[in-house]
Structures are given as C-alpha cells and as structure tokens.
C-alpha cells in the first residue's frame, strides 16, 4: 500500500492535464502515479470528466461586453445620422400645419412639492432601522460532507477529527485536528474546521487567527468559507466595517456562500448605530 494521500496529484494534476507542466515534472508525476493508486484515481476521475465534457458540451454564453471603441463610434454616428434625419423630416412635415397653442407636450419633469427635494424624503424622514449586528452572525458549524468520501489513505488525525466534528464534539475535534501534518493535503481543511470549532466554542480570537490563515492562503476549497466565517466573527463583535469587507470578498468569489453573504451585506447598515 502507498502512504500517499494525493498531494502530488493536487500539486501537479491541473498543469499536467493542461500540458503546461515542465517535462521533468511531468515525468516525475508519471513515475509517481504508476505506483500510486490514489493519484492515479484522481487523474482518471478528471480524465473521465474531461471525456464527458467533450461528449456533452454545454453552450457557453459569453457575457455581454461593452462595445469596443470602433463599434461604439460607428453605432454613435449611425444614431446621430438617424436622429438628424428624423428631426429634419419632422420639421418639414410640421411646417404647413401650425401647431395649436395649447398642444405643447406635457411637462416631462414630475412636479415636486414646495421645498421637497426629490430622492431625499425616504432617507431623511425614515429612520435607519437599527440592526443588531451580533444577531446577524451565523456561528453555526458548517456541515461536513467529505467524511464518507475519503478512502483509507486520508490522514488519520484528520479523519478522526472530522468524525468528532460531525458528531458535534468541537473540543475533541480541535485537539485531533491539531495533529494533522502541516504538509498533508488536508492541512488547510483541518485548520478551517478547527477555526470554525473555536468560533462555535466562543473562542473568537483564536478562531479569527486560524481562519485568517486559511483565507490568506488563497486558492483552496476552504477560502470562501473562511472569509464568510471571518465575517461572522466580525458581525458577532458588531464590527460592521470588517464584516462588510470580508463579505464582499465572499461575494466576489461567487461560490456557495454568495447568496448568504449578499443577504447579510444588505442587512448591515453603512454606519453602525452607536
């Protein structure tokens, strides 16, 4: 049996399939997966998906883009020419029949009450609803689905920690997750779940520090969730600005937490009531 937990595949797989991995690294990866069922399995899974994507392509709609300058200039010229033509024609047609004095067009500007400035009443007359930021905070543990997905090769401390986590035993889970090897492929996930456990246990400072490390690590399956729970910690401290900042990062990642983050962003007042 191999002790590999798939780290080489995580490191090399993408670039290997793209064909951008340098030849010596590609050969090293090949030498590895010829003897490693875990990494070979991951490669085969992505190749199988690649084949199905090839056979069952979806139509990709490119998002509408703003017109490029030459197209914009052409369209603008065309519109201007049409407008001039229309005005000229209208003037020619209107010349023989004089316009009745009272047939002027209706006022286009809505009349405002004296002293009333459009757009302001709603803001000024209605008091900003006082939102208790701490009440918005979602400090519940996120579900963990991967416990049954992993094969025998998973880090045993991680597997044990996540079993405890799934059972809701946060204290024991944190202890077990602390033993996950920092070089293992589960290291970031372990930190993330340890972080949310600490958050759940009310140890917000430690939770923030752990989750910040996961979020700052960048590209990882836990990045978005880490920003989301950092925002929850900020909310629980009634700190609107950092909460908003973290939630905006969540929204920008367009992932699973996007909707929840957008909803919370809408609920956080621009200025925190003091």
């Amino acid at each position: 049996m191999t002790d590999c937990i798939g780290a080489p595949a995580q490191k090399w797989l993408d670039r290997y399939l793209e064909g951008t991995l340098p030849e010596n690294e590609a050969q090293a990866f090949e030498s590895h997966y010829f003897d490693c069922p875990v990494c070979l399995g991951e490669l085969q899974a992505v190749q199988a998906a690649q084949e199905q994507l090839r056979r069952h392509p979806i139509a990709i709609q490119q998002k509408a883009r703003i017109l490029s300058w030459p197209a914009l200039v052409t369209a603008g010229s065309l519109a201007a020419a049409l407008l001039i033509g229309f005005i000229t024609l209208r003037a020619v047609h209107q010349e023989p029949s004089p316009v009745p004095p009272n047939s002027a067009s209706a006022p286009s500007q809505p009349s405002s009450a004296p002293g009333q400035i459009a757009g302001q009443p709603a803001r000024q007359s209605t008091a900003q609803p006082t939102v208790q930021l701490a009440q918005l905070a979602d400090l519940n543990l996120p579900p963990f689905h991967a416990s049954t997905l992993r094969g025998e090769s998973s880090d045993s401390s991680y597997a044990r920690g996540m079993t405890l986590y799934s059972a809701g035993n946060c204290t024991a889970a944190v202890k077990s997750l602390a033993h996950v090897d920092a070089n293992s492929s589960d290291a970031l996930a372990a930190q993330f779940y340890a972080g949310v456990c600490r958050m759940h246990l009310g140890n917000l400072d430690a939770a923030e520090s752990t989750l910040r490390h996961v979020a700052d690590a960048g590209d990882s399956p836990q990045e978005e969730a880490a920003w989301y729970y950092l925002a929850q910690i900020a909310l629980s401290r009634s700190a609107a600005a950092p909460a908003r900042q973290d939630l905006e990062k969540v929204v920008a990642l367009h992932g699973d937490f996007e909707r929840a983050a957008s909803k919370q962003l809408g609920q956080i007042p621009r200025q925190t009531p003091r």
Binding site: E18, F34, A45, L253
Partner: protein, 218 residues
C-alpha cells in the same frame, strides 16, 4: 508498487548479498511478476496487464489528448512491454514501473515523429487477451459516474471546466469571456475539479486503491 517492493528483498537482478539469506527472503510483487513472465506464465502476463493498463492509458490520454488513439497506443505499449519481459530485458525488477512508463514514452515519441503507430516488435500469437482486462460494464459505470459528476456542478463551474479541460483555455481568457475575475476562475476551477474527484470517489463506493490492487499478488 515501489512502496511494497522496498519492504522485501528481491532475488532477481541483484548480484550481491548472502545467498543463504536470499533463498528465504520473499520476492517483491514486481520481482515475482517479472520472474513469472520471463518463465512464460500467462497468468502473470494477465496480472501485469491489469496492473499497468490503467496508468499507461492515463498517461497516453494526457499526452495525446485523444482517448481513442490512447486506447490503441496502449495496446502497443503493453505488447512491447510483455515481449521485452518475456525476453528478460528488465534487469532490475524493482524498476518495473519505470520500465513500462519508459516504453510508453518511446511509443509516444515514435508516434509524434512519424504521426502513425509504430510497433517495434512482431505481434506474438500467444499474447494474453488485453481487451479482457477492461471490464465493459465497469467502464460504462465509470462514464456514467463522470457524467453525473459534471451534471452536479453549477453551470458556471461546468463551463469553466469545459473551457479548461476541453478547449484548453487559460483562466485569463475564460475570465474575459465570462466576465469574471481571473482569480475567481482559478478558484472555481480548483473547487470544481475537487468536487468532480470527490463525487466520483464517493459514487464508486471504493477508495481509489482497490482497482489498482486487483492486479497485484497478495
């Protein structure tokens, strides 16, 4: 597997060591396989094929980006490897995997040089049935799992994977076309890939180790 092999002492291909000790030491899987094939054991050849066809095919598919051609070339690689092992050309049985991947690379080089399949060995009559090593039902199951895996993805994630894995586009180009931030594309691509892997692993109801061990002696 090399991890297994290193735990044992091989009797084959080593010139040094105490002969009395070597008689009792067990053979590694690779050494036993190499030895048996050299002795003309057809069961060992079948076992060799089951063990090495999946990585050879994965390698050829990755390098050629053409699964059908990879399947054809895979047969050539296996035939060349078996013929070489029959002739006892592998001196160090612990390097069996290197030996097979080397043959695969040679076949690829020959193909790229001439743009056609080139076999350097005569096709023997008594080869094991290499096609029988692949279970058709299992292959269909794998395809079905892979399809369900990509269907389980969010449409944008699927589009990103399609543009990456099929169209070979870079995240920057994909980001431009989908009006997303390139970092978001990278993040979603990474996440979608992991989801596909986890989905297939879960649906196959076995860790990725079992199919590989099927061809190994216990």
């Amino acid at each position: 597997m090399r991890g297994d092999a290193s735990e044992h002492t091989s009797e084959i291909g080593t010139a040094s060591g105490s002969s009395g000790h070597r008689e009792t030491a067990p053979l590694s899987d690779s050494a036993r396989l190499v030895h048996a094939i050299a002795q003309g054991d057809p069961e060992a050849e079948r076992e060799f094929a089951v063990r090495y066809m999946p990585p050879v095919r994965a390698m050829l598919t990755a390098r050629l980006r053409n699964p059908d051609l990879a399947a054809d070339l895979k047969q050539d690689v296996m035939i060349e490897a078996i013929c070489a092992l029959r002739r006892g050309q592998l001196r160090d049985p612990e390097k069996l995997s290197h030996f097979v991947s080397g043959i695969a690379r040679n076949c690829l080089s020959n193909y790229f040089r001439s743009n056609r399949r080139v076999t350097s060995v005569e096709l023997p009559d008594d080869l094991p049935d290499l096609s029988a090593s692949t279970d058709v039902a299992e292959h269909l199951d794998e395809e079905s799992r892979a399809l369900r895996a990509i269907e389980s993805l969010d449409r944008t994630d699927r589009a990103i994977l399609q543009m990456t894995l099929v169209e070979g586009l870079k995240p920057g180009v994909i980001a431009d076309q989908l009006r997303l931030n390139p970092d978001v594309v990278r993040q979603r691509k990474l996440r979608a890939t992991r989801r596909v892997i986890e989905f297939i692993r879960r649906e196959s109801q076995k860790p990725f180790t079992s199919h590989f061990n099927a061809g190994r002696a216990q």
